[in-house]
């Protein structure tokens, strides 16, 4: 306990420096904007703005990027509530009750309560990081290459099985990420792979370029495909700020007091699980709330706990996703994969010893999340009118700005125009991937994890003299392998049952 407080004190001294506070404010503001604009989720936001942070200290840069990450969760809910369009997948569940609340004339209380729920979720999430991250670090310090390899395999499997409709396409996307990572010099033998004699390819293809291409340009083309550029002004519900009807009443708080805690804990668990992230965390929190509620019939019609649960859930999940990233070096989502990539670019390799060896950095980041959540609560209540105004900017004016940020940001990485061409190619491929059910997030996640996956697989094979026996001879690896097969079988079983149900329904449909 004493150690925890001393770590937090170290973190506070880092996060409270004026320089870091300034960039934290910039980060959370940018995050809010990123969340509000359609087709510009946290993954794209972090990837596109990453090159701009190169001139900063690593701690400052990561504090700012993390601010964008969790700030976007706050911003994305504003669109869920006011225009019935989630700004981010993690706020889909918030739309179910958020929009009806606004339609019933309670937009103000909904906006304030989402900020309160996000704050509580984020804060409980950070408290849980403090409680669990050091223990997980200790446990992970006994892991060898076989355990790491299996954790990566399990994480990618979870990502592909939880991504929804087409699991095969998710798997193919992850394999493409692995394939792209093999370009360049082999880390163990020094041999060149897939460079075709080109000096530009010897260093490999930078993951930032692919991430900006897939999340930035690819998503932008998809937004044009969806017709966002044709919308002049969004049909949003008007909010009167500051008046009596703007604030939530006592009943809202009483109804939501346990919801806040349940949603936060469940969301945090969802966030810790690799591959699930904030989207699953928020949906799980909403479903649980509806199940335990004495008035489930009110859900979907503008019931405050129906908004509070997913909001607490998605923000706690954002904090939860930091746990596997900091302690194992394994991100659980596209956004945390980009964040991990940023760590690696600054020569910081998260893993079991990371928090012990870099206390100022890791605890500075964790405490900055406390401060960031406080700022976001204030910003959301005081500056909501400003952010709501942003909803009136038509997408056709945002579009060229995003492309410029992507191109100039990519060029500024290494001053190499070839990388800008890679960005465009990745963008066009990313658009088609999204259009036909592939997962750009799985590509980026696999691309970031591939060097570690390859290294640990080859080391494990060396240790076991070329045999795959390492998978069953070590207890943790065996446990992970069993979990792997359980997930595979469960996924196949549920897909089969779903297909059978659809067939049965088709059979009984009167002709």
């Amino acid at each position: 306990m004493t150690e925890l407080f001393s770590n937090l004190a170290t973190g506070l001294s880092v996060a409270f420096s004026p320089h870091n506070l300034l960039f934290l404010v910039i980060g959370v503001f940018v995050g809010m904007v990123v969340g509000i604009f359609p087709g510009f989720g946290p993954s794209a936001g972090i990837a596109i703005l990453l090159p701009m942070t190169f001139g900063l200290e690593p701690t400052t840069a990561i504090i700012m990027l993390a601010g964008i990450y969790y700030g976007s969760m706050y911003g994305a809910t504003i669109t869920s509530i006011l225009i019935n369009t989630p700004g981010e997948a993690a706020t889909v569940a918030s739309t179910i009750d958020g929009y009806p609340l606004a339609r019933n004339g309670r937009a103000g209380p909904a906006l304030v309560m989402q900020a309160v729920a996000s704050f509580v979720g984020g804060t409980i999430g950070v408290i849980l990081i403090c409680a669990f991250a050091p223990s997980l670090s200790n446990l992970a310090s006994s892991f060898g290459p076989p355990e790491y390899f299996m954790i990566i395999a399990l994480g990618l499997l979870l990502l592909t099985t939880m991504m929804g409709e087409n699991k095969l396409n998710g798997l193919i996307s992850a394999l493409f990420g692995f394939a792209i990572s093999t370009v360049g010099v082999d880390i163990i033998t020094g041999a060149q792979r897939y460079t075709f004699g080109s000096p530009e390819l010897i260093g490999g293809i930078d993951f930032v370029v692919i991430a900006i291409g897939l999340f930035g340009i690819g998503e932008l083309l998809y937004c044009i495909h969806s017709g966002l550029h044709r919308e002049e002004k969004k049909d949003r519900i008007k909010v009167t700020f500051g008046g009596k009807g703007f604030w939530p009443d006592a009943k809202d708080f009483i109804e939501s007091k346990f919801t806040l805690i349940r949603g936060s804990i469940l969301g945090f668990i969802g966030g810790v699980l690799p591959g699930s992230g904030a989207t699953l965390g928020s949906i799980m929190a909403y479903s649980l709330e509806k199940k335990v509620s004495k008035t489930p019939e009110k859900f979907g019609k503008g019931h405050m706990p129906g908004l509070v649960a997913p909001e607490a859930g998605n923000n706690a999940a954002s904090a939860g996703a930091m746990v596997p990233m900091l302690t194992l070096g394994i991100p659980g989502s596209g956004s945390t994969a980009v964040l991990l990539g940023a760590f690696l670019m600054w020569g910081l390799t998260p893993g079991p010893l990371f928090m012990e060896q870099n206390p100022e950095f890791s605890w500075g980041l964790i405490t900055s999340m406390y401060l960031g959540n406080m700022m976001l609560l204030l910003v959301n209540i005081v500056a909501i009118p400003l952010f709501v105004k942003l909803l009136d900017i038509p997408y056709k004016l945002i579009l060229p700005a995003i492309i410029i940020l992507c191109i100039v940001g990519t060029f500024s990485l290494h001053g190499n125009i070839v990388e800008v061409w890679f960005l465009l190619i990745a963008g066009v491929i990313g658009f088609f991937m999204k259009l036909y059910g592939y997962s750009p997030a799985a590509v980026v996640l696999a691309l970031v994890l591939a060097p570690l996956a390859e290294k640990t697989l080859r080391q494990s094979l060396l240790l076991s003299e070329g045999s795959l026996g390492f998978l069953v001879t070590r207890p943790i690896t065996l446990g992970l392998l069993i979990s792997f097969f359980i997930i595979v079988f469960a996924s196949v079983f549920f897909s089969y049952r779903k297909g059978k149900n659809i067939n049965n329904n088709n059979d009984i449909t009167p002709r």
Binding site: L168, I172, L175, T182, R193, G227, K396, A401, G415, Y436
Partner: protein, 151 residues
């Protein structure tokens, strides 16, 4: 279109694996996994999985005579956006960061925001100038181009 994307992915997987097998060592000395081990394993899985998609498409085509897949909406706008962006990248080093950004903005806004000349002109100058100043402040080293109008 989905069919052709799946075919392209399958062909890529095939070429990726064959190239890996022919140019890289699968196993190094003393039975150690070589530089080609990981790419060939990944490539083999890629061939298998992308082939499943192609076979599924072929079966659907045989059964229904066509493949049900969503078409591209606003294809013309998407194509023009890509073309203008390609031109932007081509002129980026030649004309320099600032000028090429201004021309790109004008080009894109001509497609999407026609008829609002003053708004487009102002936006096309103000945003690139701000971006240029920001990236200069960050020492990003944007190209000056043949007409150096650095601020």
């Amino acid at each position: 279109m989905r069919f052709w994307l799946n075919i392209a992915f399958f062909v890529f997987s095939l070429m990726f694996t064959i190239y890996g097998l022919t140019t890289l060592k699968f196993m190094a000395a003393a039975g150690r996994p070589g530089s080609g081990f990981f790419p060939v394993v990944i490539g083999s899985f890629l061939i298998l999985t992308t082939a499943v998609n192609v076979v599924k498409d072929l079966r659907e085509m045989k059964k229904n005579g066509k493949i049900e897949s969503s078409g591209i909406n606003f294809g013309k706008e998407i194509l023009w956006t890509i073309i203008v962006t390609i031109i932007f990248v081509f002129i980026f080093k030649f004309l320099g960061g600032l000028l090429s950004m201004i021309l790109f903005m004008l080009g894109i806004l001509f497609i999407y925001n026609r008829g609002k000349l003053l708004q487009n002109a102002l936006y096309s100058v103000i945003f690139p100038v701000l971006m240029y100043m920001l990236f200069e402040w960050l020492n990003a080293g944007l190209p000056k181009g043949i007409i150096d109008i650095g601020i």
